[in-house]
């Protein structure tokens, strides 16, 4: 865990204040047209207005819901499939190479395919999110299972553990660090694809909202949306980091 010193905290806050000041100076000096680039006060005002009475709150909830649903779907399918493929050496030999071949394919390239099948619908967006977030979890689970310490497998043989016990007590915990890291990556991907999907399919949410704001040159609303998206990403990854630290307590001292 990182040590949080007072000095670090003060310097950090000072840096943030400086950043906002520079932002303000740039916009006040009209280095960029204020139509395109709002200052911090106008962004803040749009944020407060949008969250207190405007549509922003509803859109935020929509985007979060989409992101979480797709992510959960991907996690469930990815870990289950990964465990099934990863536990068997034979399944790995047949299936893993094709998965590796597909991995560099950008998830967003599947969007047109998803549109072709599902149209511009909420389902389409959900499928795209789940598909994109699936890969890191699937591959991490397969690799995590495959990378189990061979010595532990021998221990399980000597102790006479059943196959199910080997999966549950040895393979899954030893794959846990990789799986948890992939869950975090998957959440990042889910948020990105939720925004892209909303932009493309015009489903209600922050993605559609910021695109509309930019088209009608409402730049404070646009920036307010971006701030919220950053906050969602930040909170999500922080929560998963905390979960990670809890679940991987046993690693803490060896690192």
């Amino acid at each position: 865990m990182r040590h949080l010193s007072l000095r670090k905290l003060l310097l950090g806050i000072g840096g943030l204040v400086l950043f906002i000041l520079v932002w303000k100076l740039v916009t006040d000096a009209k280095l960029v047209s204020p139509i395109f680039f709002p200052g911090p006060e106008r962004t803040y005002a749009a944020l407060v207005k949008g969250l207190s009475g405007g549509a922003l709150l509803q859109q935020t909830l929509q985007t979060i819901q989409r992101m979480l649903l797709g992510w959960l779907l991907a996690s469930f399918v990815g870990i289950l499939l990964g465990a099934l493929v990863g536990i068997s050496k034979r399944a790995r030999a047949f299936i893993a190479p094709m998965l590796e071949l597909l991995r560099p394919l950008p998830a967003s390239a599947m969007i047109p395919v998803a549109i072709a099948f599902l149209g511009f619908s909420d389902h389409m967006v959900l499928v795209v999110i789940a598909f994109g977030a699936l890969w890191p979890m699937l591959l991490a689970t397969i690799h995590g299972f495959a990378a189990m310490e061979p010595r532990l497998y021998e221990v399980s043989q000597v102790l006479g553990l059943s196959r199910l016990e080997v999966i549950w007590k040895l393979a899954l915990p030893s794959a846990m660090p990789m799986i948890l890291a992939s869950l975090r990556l998957g959440l990042t991907i889910s948020l990105i694809l939720a925004v892209v999907g909303e932009m493309l399919a015009s489903r209600e949410g922050l993605g559609q909202s910021i695109l509309a704001a930019s088209r009608s040159f409402r730049s404070p609303d646009l920036f307010a949306g971006i701030v919220i998206l950053g906050a969602i990403g930040l909170v999500g990854s922080r929560l998963l980091s905390i979960a990670e630290r809890r679940l991987l307590r046993w690693q803490a001292t060896s690192r």
Binding site: L16, F19, P97, L105, P106, P112, V113, I115, L222, L229
Partner: protein
């Protein structure tokens, strides 16, 4: 591994993709497929040949790769520079850490509307978004790499009273070169993803736009031809960079594998 064993495992690896293609073709032939969303492998191959013949595929590929490459160089270059500065100066690091932690989670696609408003459509807008998307990972990797440079080497450079520039070029850069290359490798893959995403979402050029247009025109064979081509490009880029890494930094690759 003996040649026979390699052949054996290669055969296993190829079985599933080949079987999928054959099954798809048989199913399409038997059902006399006429669809706006599906196409038989044979039709896909024919569409592939035709988009190559009329030059549209190669033009789109060149556009996408150019944007990804320039964005990659700008993003990784700028990010690495910032990361090195932060790694060397504790004050700068402490002062900017909080701000960076707050800016980093902003999904890069959220910047599409902003940059679009400022620059309009075109290759510049795409390059800027790619560069911004690759900036933070490069900062983080370079900063971590600098902090892991052997402290003895830093002490040596202090004892010799090297100037900042000399310290950078004689000690730090050579020491973190392998990590910088890894950063570039990761960025190249991600840069391609961002490029295609921007093209699909907004920018009317490149492979992403091509695949989107094929879908909108209800030409599924062409759409799948683009999809497979995009996958192949992604795979080739990552394979080429992996090979380069193995060639130039063999020791580092071994360490990474552990």
């Amino acid at each position: 591994m003996s040649a026979a064993a390699l052949l054996k495992s290669g055969w296993r690896a190829a079985l599933l993709p080949v079987a999928l293609v054959v099954v798809a073709q048989v199913a399409a032939t038997v059902s006399h497929l006429e669809s706006d969303s599906l196409a038989s492998p044979f039709d896909i191959a024919r569409a592939f040949v035709s988009v190559i013949a009329d030059g549209s595929l190669l033009r789109a590929t060149a556009d996408t790769l150019k944007a990804a490459a320039v964005g990659c160089v700008l993003g990784v270059g700028g990010g690495s520079f910032l990361g090195i500065v932060l790694g060397l100066s504790r004050i700068a690091d402490d002062a900017l850490d909080l701000t960076i932690e707050l800016l980093r989670p902003i999904p890069v696609v959220a910047l599409i509307p902003v940059v679009m408003m400022l620059l309009g459509f075109g290759v510049e807008m795409e390059i800027v978004i790619i560069a911004l998307g690759l900036l933070w990972p490069a900062v983080v990797l370079a900063r971590a790499a600098v902090k892991e440079v052997e402290p003895r080497l830093m002490e040596v450079s202090n004892m010799l009273q090297l100037s900042f520039i000399a310290r950078l070029t004689k000690i730090v850069l050579p020491a973190i070169l392998p990590q910088l290359f890894m950063s570039l490798k990761l960025a190249a893959g991600y840069g391609l993803v961002v490029a295609v995403t921007v093209e699909i979402t907004a920018n009317p050029l490149g492979l992403g736009y091509g695949i989107m247009m094929a879908q909108q025109a209800l030409r599924p064979a062409e759409m799948f031809a683009y999809l497979i081509w995009i996958g192949a490009i992604g795979w080739l880029v990552s394979a080429a960079l992996n090979a380069a890494q193995r060639n130039f930094f063999p020791a580092f690759v071994k360490g990474e594998g552990r």
